[in-house]
């Protein structure tokens, strides 16, 4: 509770206590006053009786008070007076009154003695004087008692008046304090509601999943599980849930991850320290990467879940691109080396033949200069061809073909129809191929070159058989070939022929530009067919490799993504 409120309530409490105390004090005063009044009225009554007795005693011929005269003889009056004064003395509160009574007793006794001793009758005047003085004393007693009573009354009135004033002020003070306190509480509550409203809005607006858990204990205190006490909308979406009520942690996670998650939960709960957990949830084809921050909160846990998928996917893409670039880079390096090498050869020959032609005009073996010049021309033409081929290679995948959905079966059919079988008899059979996203033009070139290559290297004596098979890439493929993007699904197409094949250790060289595995003169073409195939596959974010054995044909394996990744290129 607020410190201010506490202070106010304490003050009000103290004030109330004070008021009660004051009330009690005034009540006591009043009791005392009433007692005094009672006593004093007792005294007054007695004094009245005394007065009557004295009158009767002094004027025994006259009846002062009917009630007195009826039952007393004059002698009895004398005794009664003594009794009365005695009694008054006892009940009198003040010494003054007691002394008066003593004086009256003394005077009355003296008078009686006088009366008894002498026969001489007291004169009327003496009697009158005596009466007056006695009256005076009784009167005095009356007055002093009355005076005292008044005094007390006044005192009481004064104190109650003061008390009244006090009480009024205290009531006012208490009243205002309570009003202030109420006002404060109200404000406090409203602020808290506002804050709650704010945090609730935050929880609902944020993209992060926010879930709170309470641990569930079995009867004998063992931690059984965790149940959800709150989950915001984002959390529901991330975990693919409709509602969070009555759900435990076992309801929302797949069994194989529960053990690990439970371990972390338990550790956070017992050590009261936050931990971070990263993993993914697979929902059909969709893989969601999540990062969860688990913090202890009160007696349970609070989990904040962040969707890592975009980042992970970018990370993956980046890694893949880097791998791809590495592959391309290596290719490029080889390419540069091979090119310069393959171009230097003809150049050297040109120089050689020129030298020979210049320095040895007539040669021993009868060759004329013209012959050599013709040779030189031939070599120069060959060089030109090489350079052209090189250029066409670099350009071959330049026109970035539009990426569209391409039916590979249709493409294969076209290629088979258009390919030049030459003199070879060939059978090409293919399994059903899927539809992929790619460049129609280039994919056609890919298959075209592969078929042409197989035809070129067919065994002269055996009919050529090309078989094409297909399967989807599975988990192991991604491990074997890290170039493949984890977020893409690939089809793996194998083109197998029964041609002359190649030695296994040359499986990478087959893709190198210009390198022909057989004599330079025998093979036709420019030797870049397979290199172009590889380039096309790379451009489609795929991967290609070859397997072969000498005289046992070759197999070309091609991984192509069914869909091209979006936007990162």
């Amino acid at each position: 509770m607020n410190k201010r409120l506490f202070f106010i309530y304490t003050t009000v409490f103290v004030l109330t206590g004070l008021m009660l105390y004051l009330y009690r004090a005034s009540y006591r005063d009043m009791k005392v006053f009433i007692q005094e009044v009672n006593r004093m009225s007792g005294v007054v009554v007695k004094l009245e009786r005394l007065d009557a007795l004295l009158h009767f005693w002094l004027n025994n011929d006259r009846v002062a008070d009917k009630s007195v005269a009826l039952y007393l003889a004059p002698d009895d009056a004398y005794d009664s007076i003594l009794v009365a004064t005695d009694y008054i003395k006892q009940i009198a509160l003040y010494q003054e009154d007691r002394l008066r009574m003593d004086t009256i007793r003394l005077a009355v006794r003296n008078f009686q003695r006088l009366h008894e001793r002498s026969d001489t009758m007291l004169t009327q005047m003496e009697r009158e004087e005596f009466r007056r003085s006695l009256n005076g004393m009784v009167r005095a007693a009356f007055e002093s008692t009355n005076r005292r009573l008044n005094h007390s009354r006044v005192r009481l009135e004064e104190s109650t008046a003061l008390l009244d004033q006090w009480l009024v002020w205290m009531l006012v003070l208490a009243g205002s304090l309570i009003t202030i306190a109420t006002f404060y509480s109200f404000n406090f509550l409203r602020q808290r509601q506002k804050a709650e409203g704010f945090s609730r809005a935050l929880l609902e607006i944020t993209n992060n999943g926010m879930i709170s858990f309470q641990p569930m204990f079995s009867g004998d205190g063992i931690l059984k599980s965790y149940r959800i006490t709150y989950c915001n909308d984002a959390g529901l979406k991330l975990l693919n849930l409709k509602d969070w009520r009555s759900l435990t942690i076992e309801n929302i996670l797949p069994p194989k991850v529960i053990a690990d998650v439970r371990k972390v939960f338990d550790s956070v709960l017992s050590q009261k320290q936050s931990q971070i957990l990263e993993g993914y949830l697979q929902h059909g084809k969709e893989r969601k990467w999540l990062q969860a921050m688990i913090t202890p909160l009160h007696e349970g846990l609070f989990v904040s879940i962040y969707n890592l998928t975009p980042e992970k996917s970018y990370q993956q893409r980046l890694t893949n691109k880097i791998n791809q670039l590495k592959v391309l880079n290596e290719e490029l390096q080889q390419y540069a080396y091979v090119t310069s090498h393959d171009l230097q050869e003809p150049l050297r020959k040109i120089q050689m033949f020129s030298d020979i032609a210049l320095n040895s005009p007539t040669h021993d073996d009868g060759k004329s200069k013209d012959d050599y010049f013709r040779r030189i021309q031939g070599i120069a033409a060959h060089m030109r061809e090489l350079i052209q081929t090189l250029l066409s290679f670099t350009r071959s995948t330049d026109q970035s073909g539009k990426m569209e959905r391409v039916d590979l079966n249709a493409i294969l059919k076209e290629v088979v129809e258009e390919v030049d079988l030459g003199e070879t008899r060939a059978t090409i059979d293919s399994a059903e191929l899927p539809e992929v996203e790619g460049s129609r033009l280039h994919l056609k070139l890919l298959f075209g070159n592969l078929l042409t290559n197989s035809i070129k290297y067919a065994k002269p004596d055996a009919p050529l058989r090309i078989s094409i098979s297909e399967r989807r890439a599975h988990h192991q493929d991604y491990i074997d070939f890290p170039v493949l993007d984890q977020f893409l699904t690939y089809t793996r197409i194998t083109v197998k022929d029964n041609g002359v094949g190649f030695q296994p250790h040359l499986s990478e060289k087959v893709f190198t530009i210009f390198q022909r595995l057989y004599n330079k003169e025998n093979a036709q073409g420019t030797g870049i067919g397979l290199a172009i195939c590889k380039k096309i596959v790379h451009q489609h974010n795929g991967y290609m490799y070859a397997e072969g054995a000498e005289n046992e044909g070759a197999s070309f394996h091609i991984y192509l993504p069914l869909q091209q990744p979006t936007g990162t290129d």
Partner: protein, 130 residues
């Protein structure tokens, strides 16, 4: 000083064969040059022949059986062990040289760009051998 009589060239490039033969005839017209277009051909031919060549020139960049393999194969044959082998190639590299010499080549020679240079080199090699 004796001059080599029979020389063998193993190279898949026919132009190179021609140039080589011309150069040899410039050095000494009496030299007999036998050319093989592939490693396999060479090994078969050398096994069949009754006489040993005086020197073997070996190209490295050949399809199927490359020069290194031929070099090793020849060095493995008892009867051919003594024949000096000169590696004659365009791909010249210190590592290549080391490797060839390790296997047992006598020398590694880069295919020169000028005919005169070739003749000089051949002269030096052929006139000194044996």
């Amino acid at each position: 000083m004796q001059i080599a009589r029979t020389v063998v060239l193993v190279d898949d490039d026919l132009d190179d064969h021609e140039v080589f033969k011309s150069a040899c005839s410039v050095v000494d017209p009496a030299i007999e040059v036998t050319g093989f277009e592939s490693g396999e051909q060479a090994l078969r031919g050398l096994a069949k022949s009754r006489s040993l060549p005086d020197m073997i020139f070996l190209d490295l960049n050949m399809p199927r059986l490359n020069g290194i393999e031929v070099l090793e194969a020849v060095k493995a044959i008892e009867s051919l062990k003594t024949v000096p082998i000169v590696v004659y190639t365009t791909s010249f590299d210190s590592r290549v040289r080391e490797r060839c010499e390790q296997i047992g080549a006598m020398d590694v020679m880069e295919k020169p760009n000028s005919f005169d240079a070739l003749c000089e080199k051949l002269e030096a090699l052929l006139k000194v051998s044996i």
